[in-house]
C-alpha cells in the first residue's frame, strides 16, 4: 500500500520503517458441520476474510467493530493461538505463519497479550507472584533467585503493592486484576502487546486508571500496541491509527483524528454516530442502521455492508467488491461511493468551525424533532 500525499489534508500518521507485525491476505475460516458421527462439512464461518494489516514500531493501532467482525480472531491469529487458513503473518520481517510452537517461542518473548476478562485469565489457585513469574520461568529469562525481585518491581510498575506478592487473584478487584494481567504481559519485556478489550469488563472510573497505565508503560518501554475494543471512545483516546472491521474485512484504515473527523466509509460513519456523547448539548444526527450484522457463514455478495448501507447503489454495491482505496494521507476506505468531507457534521467538525457549534446543534435538533428520515444532514460547511 502506498501512501499518496494530498496537499490540503492534515498530517500523515507515522508509518515509517518495517512493520513489526504484518498480515497479508489473512483468512480464518471455521468449519460448520452437521451430524454427530459422520460430520458433514456444510459451510464456513468467515471470521477473518482477507485482512491486510501493518503494525509499526511505537504506534497504537486500534481495531474496532461490532461483535462477530473478527477483531478477537485477528488478535489470536497474530498471537498464533490459532493457525491461519490462508495468508501470511510476519513479525519484524520474518514469516511466522507456519512456525511450530517450539520455533515460535523466541517470538513469544516479543509478543504478549492482555486479555479481556481479568476474572477468567488468572489462575485462581496460583499466587500473584507465581502468575507474573510464569513467563520468566518458561522462557528462563530471569534466574530463579532473582525472580521475586523482578516480579515485585513489575508489580510496583503497574501500581500494585509489592507486598501482595503472595496473595491470590480473588483478593483483588477487577481493576487490580487487570493490572496483574498487564504485569504478566510485561514480564518478558516484549516489544508488542496485543490488548483484546482490556477495559471493557471494568467500571468506568477504573477504566481510566488502566488506560493511563497502558499509556505510561508505552512511553516508558517504547511499546507497540494492538488495541482491540468495541468502545469507539476508548479507541479514539488510545490509538494513533484505527482499523474499522466489518464481517471479517477492514473497511477503513485511518489516523484516529482523520477517521473521527472525516470518515469515508458509511459504516465507520454510522458506527461513530451511534456512540452516545456524554454532553447533552452536543447531540448529533444519528444514523440508525437497520437490522443486524449478517451471518459470517454466508456473507453478502459485493460489498458486505450493502444490505445495511444507507448509500448503497445497485447493482454495483451488491456485485462488485470494493477495495481499500487511498483518500487522505494514510486513510484507506473500501467503498464504491465514499462519503464526502463534511458530509457529516460531527461535534468536532462543528467545534473546529468555532461559531458553528450552536448552529450545528440547532440544525441537528430541528432535524431530530421534525422526525425526518434523512438521518444525515448533507449540508456542506459554508
Amino acid at each position: 500500500m502506498s501512501v499518496q500525499a494530498r496537499p490540503s489534508a492534515g498530517e500523515a500518521p507515522e508509518t515509517a520503517g518495517t512493520p513489526l507485525i504484518k498480515l497479508e491476505g489473512v483468512k480464518k475460516y471455521f468449519p460448520v458441520t452437521r451430524g454427530i458421527i459422520f460430520q458433514q462439512h456444510v459451510g464456513d464461518v468467515h471470521a477473518v476474510d482477507g485482512l491486510d494489516l501493518e503494525l509499526y514500531p511505537g504506534e497504537t493501532l486500534g481495531l474496532v467493530g461490532e461483535s462477530g467482525c473478527g477483531k478477537s480472531t485477528t488478535a489470536r491469529l497474530i498471537m498464533k493461538l490459532m493457525d491461519v487458513t490462508e495468508g501470511r503473518v510476519y513479525f519484524d520481517g520474518n514469516d511466522i505463519t507456519d512456525l511450530s510452537p517450539r520455533d515460535m517461542r523466541p517470538y513469544r518473548r516479543e509478543l504478549q497479550m492482555v486479555f479481556q476478562d481479568p476474572y477468567a485469565s488468572l489462575n485462581p489457585r496460583k499466587t500473584i507472584g507465581s502468575i507474573i513469574a510464569e513467563p520468566m520461568r518458561i522462557h528462563g529469562t530471569v534466574p530463579k533467585n532473582k525472580q521475586k525481585g523482578d516480579v515485585q518491581e513489575l508489580m510496583r510498575l503497574v501500581g500494585l503493592n509489592p507486598e501482595h506478592y503472595n496473595r491470590y487473584p480473588h483478593e483483588f478487584s477487577g481493576g487490580q486484576r487487570q493490572r496483574i494481567g498487564v504485569a504478566r504481559a510485561l514480564a518478558l519485556r516484549p516489544r508488542v502487546i496485543v490488548a483484546d478489550e482490556p477495559v471493557s469488563a471494568l467500571d468506568v472510573s477504573v477504566q481510566a486508571q488502566v488506560l493511563n497505565l497502558l499509556e505510561d508503560l508505552q512511553a516508558e518501554f517504547n511499546l507497540t500496541y494492538l488495541f482491540i475494543a468495541h468502545d469507539l471512545s476508548v479507541v479514539r483516546h488510545m490509538s494513533d491509527r484505527v482499523v474499522v472491521m466489518y464481517l471479517g474485512k477492514a473497511v477503513e484504515i485511518a489516523a484516529g483524528d482523520t477517521l473521527y473527523e472525516y470518515p469515508k466509509h458509511p459504516y465507520s460513519n454510522a458506527l461513530l454516530s451511534a456512540v452516545p456523547i456524554p454532553d447533552p448539548r452536543k447531540q448529533r444526527n444519528r444514523i440508525i442502521l437497520q437490522g443486524d450484522v449478517p451471518s459470517p457463514i454466508d456473507p453478502p455478495s459485493g460489498c458486505r455492508f450493502h444490505p445495511r448501507c444507507p448509500n448503497a447503489q445497485f447493482p454495483k454495491c451488491s456485485e462488485e467488491e470494493p477495495l481499500l482505496e487511498p483518500h487522505r494521507p494514510g486513510q484507506f476506505a473500501a467503498c464504491h461511493f465514499p462519503l464526502e468531507d463534511r458530509a457529516v457534521i460531527t461535534a468536532e467538525a462543528a467545534e473546529a468551525a468555532g461559531a458553528e457549534v450552536e448552529s450545528a446543534v440547532k440544525r441537528s435538533r430541528t432535524t431530530r424533532t421534525s422526525g425526518k428520515s434523512g438521518a444525515r444532514s448533507r449540508k456542506p460547511r459554508s
Binding site: 461483535s67 488506560l211 471512545s233 447533552p280 440508525i288
Partner: protein
C-alpha cells in the same frame, strides 16, 4: 433521612415515590448494605437516568421496587409508593397485578431472561394470560402485534421461533414487547443495551424513546454509560455505595454538578467528541458494601475531602430547585471547583 425532594415534574403528578429505602442482605461475611437510604420521586412520563458503578445499588433498588427482592430475601425498610399504594407491604398476589400493567422491567441480558424451550410468542402470551383473562388466540394476536410494534420484521413467523433463533438486538426487542404488552405506566430498563453492539444500542434506545412517547409511560434507565443518560434522561440519580449522592435534572448534572463523585465520573470517561491528552480517573476502587467507609462513603477516593468527611455522613440536601447532593462542601465551594477544575463542555 428526612429530606423533602421536590423534583421538576414534566407531567405534574407523581407516579412513584421512594422514601428512605434500605435493602440489607445478611451474608456469612456480614450485612451487605446494598441500598442504604434512598429517596426520590418519579413523575408520570418522566425519564429518570440512574448512574453508578457496579455495586452502587442501582439494580437492587429497582428490583426491590419491582417486588423481585422481597422481605424473604432481604431486610427491607422504607416506603415505595406506586400510584398511591405502598407496594412493599403488599401481598404477593396484589403485587403481581401491579407488575405487568403497572410497572415492567427489562434486563441487561435478554438471552437469559427468556425461556430457551418456549417459542417467543408463547412467552408473551403467557405474560398476557397471567394478568388478563383472555383466550389464547386473542392473546397470540396481541403478542404478534406487540412484536410488530417493536420493529420485528415478519412478526407472525418470528413469534413461532425460539429465543436462540433471535439475535441479541431482536431478543431485546422481544423483551421490550413483552414488557409493554400490558401497557405499564413505568418501564424499568436495567442496563438494556450493555450487552449489545453500539449500532444496535442506538436502535433499541430510539425504540424506547418512541414507545415512551406513544404510551406516555415513565422510564427508568439504569446504566453506567453517561452518554446514554445525556441523550435520554430528564432527571439523573447518581448512586454510590448504596446511597443517592446527587439528584438533578440533566443539565444540572452535566453542567453544574454538585458532587465530587459525579465530577470524577465526568472526568474519567474517554470521549469520542474530544481529543483528550490524559484521562483523570477517580483513584481507588468502589468500597465494600459490608464495610462501608465511615462518614461520607466516597471520602477515601475524594480529592476535596476535609474535616467532617470521614466522620459525619452527609445528608442529601436540596440546594437549588430540584437539585440535591450529599456532600459537605458548601455550595459556593462546589460551584467554584466545578467551574475551574471540571471541564465538561468547551
Amino acid at each position: 433521612m428526612t429530606v423533602e425532594i421536590t423534583s421538576p415534574e414534566p407531567d405534574g403528578d407523581t407516579l412513584l415515590s421512594v422514601r428512605d429505602l434500605k435493602v440489607h442482605f445478611d451474608t456469612s461475611d456480614g450485612v451487605v448494605k446494598a441500598v442504604d437510604g434512598v429517596s426520590f420521586d418519579l413523575a408520570k412520563g418522566e425519564t429518570l437516568g440512574v448512574v453508578g458503578e457496579s455495586g452502587s445499588g442501582k439494580s437492587v433498588s429497582f428490583m426491590t421496587i419491582m417486588g423481585l427482592i422481597t422481605r424473604k430475601q432481604a431486610h427491607i425498610e422504607g416506603e415505595v409508593v406506586f400510584r398511591g399504594q405502598n407496594v412493599l407491604d403488599m401481598p404477593a398476589d396484589e403485587m403481581r397485578s401491579i407488575r405487568g400493567s403497572g410497572m415492567a422491567m427489562i434486563f441487561q441480558d435478554p438471552i437469559s431472561s427468556l425461556h430457551p424451550l418456549y417459542k417467543v410468542g408463547w412467552q408473551i402470551v403467557e405474560a398476557i394470560q397471567a394478568h388478563e383473562e383472555v383466550e389464547k388466540k386473542v392473546a397470540w394476536e396481541r403478542a404478534v402485534e406487540a412484536l410488530e410494534r417493536v420493529g420485528i420484521p415478519n412478526a407472525p413467523q418470528r413469534a413461532r421461533q425460539y429465543p436462540h433463533e433471535f439475535s441479541g438486538g431482536m431478543l431485546q426487542r422481544a423483551m421490550i414487547a413483552m414488557a409493554l404488552v400490558l401497557n405499564p405506566d413505568l418501564l424499568i430498563a436495567d442496563e438494556p443495551t450493555t450487552a449489545l453492539d453500539v449500532t444496535v444500542q442506538a436502535q433499541i434506545l430510539s425504540l424506547i424513546d418512541r414507545l415512551q412517547q406513544e404510551f406516555r409511560m415513565a422510564v427508568v434507565l439504569v446504566t453506567h454509560d453517561l452518554g446514554v443518560i445525556a441523550e435520554h434522561a430528564d432527571n439523573v440519580n447518581v448512586m454510590y455505595a448504596g446511597k443517592l449522592v446527587e439528584r438533578g435534572n440533566r443539565d444540572q448534572t452535566y453542567y453544574d454538578s454538585h458532587h465530587p463523585y459525579t465530577w470524577g465520573l465526568l472526568q474519567s470517561i474517554s470521549r469520542l467528541d474530544e481529543k483528550q491528552e490524559r484521562l483523570r480517573p477517580i483513584k481507588g476502587g468502589p468500597p465494600s458494601l459490608i464495610n462501608v467507609p465511615k462518614g461520607c462513603s466516597f471520602h477515601p477516593r475524594c480529592p476535596y475531602r476535609f474535616d467532617p468527611c470521614d466522620k459525619v455522613v452527609p445528608e442529601l440536601v436540596e440546594e437549588e430547585f430540584g437539585h440535591s447532593s450529599a456532600c459537605h462542601l458548601s455550595i459556593e465551594e462546589k460551584k467554584r471547583i466545578f467551574a475551574s477544575e471540571v471541564v465538561v463542555s468547551s
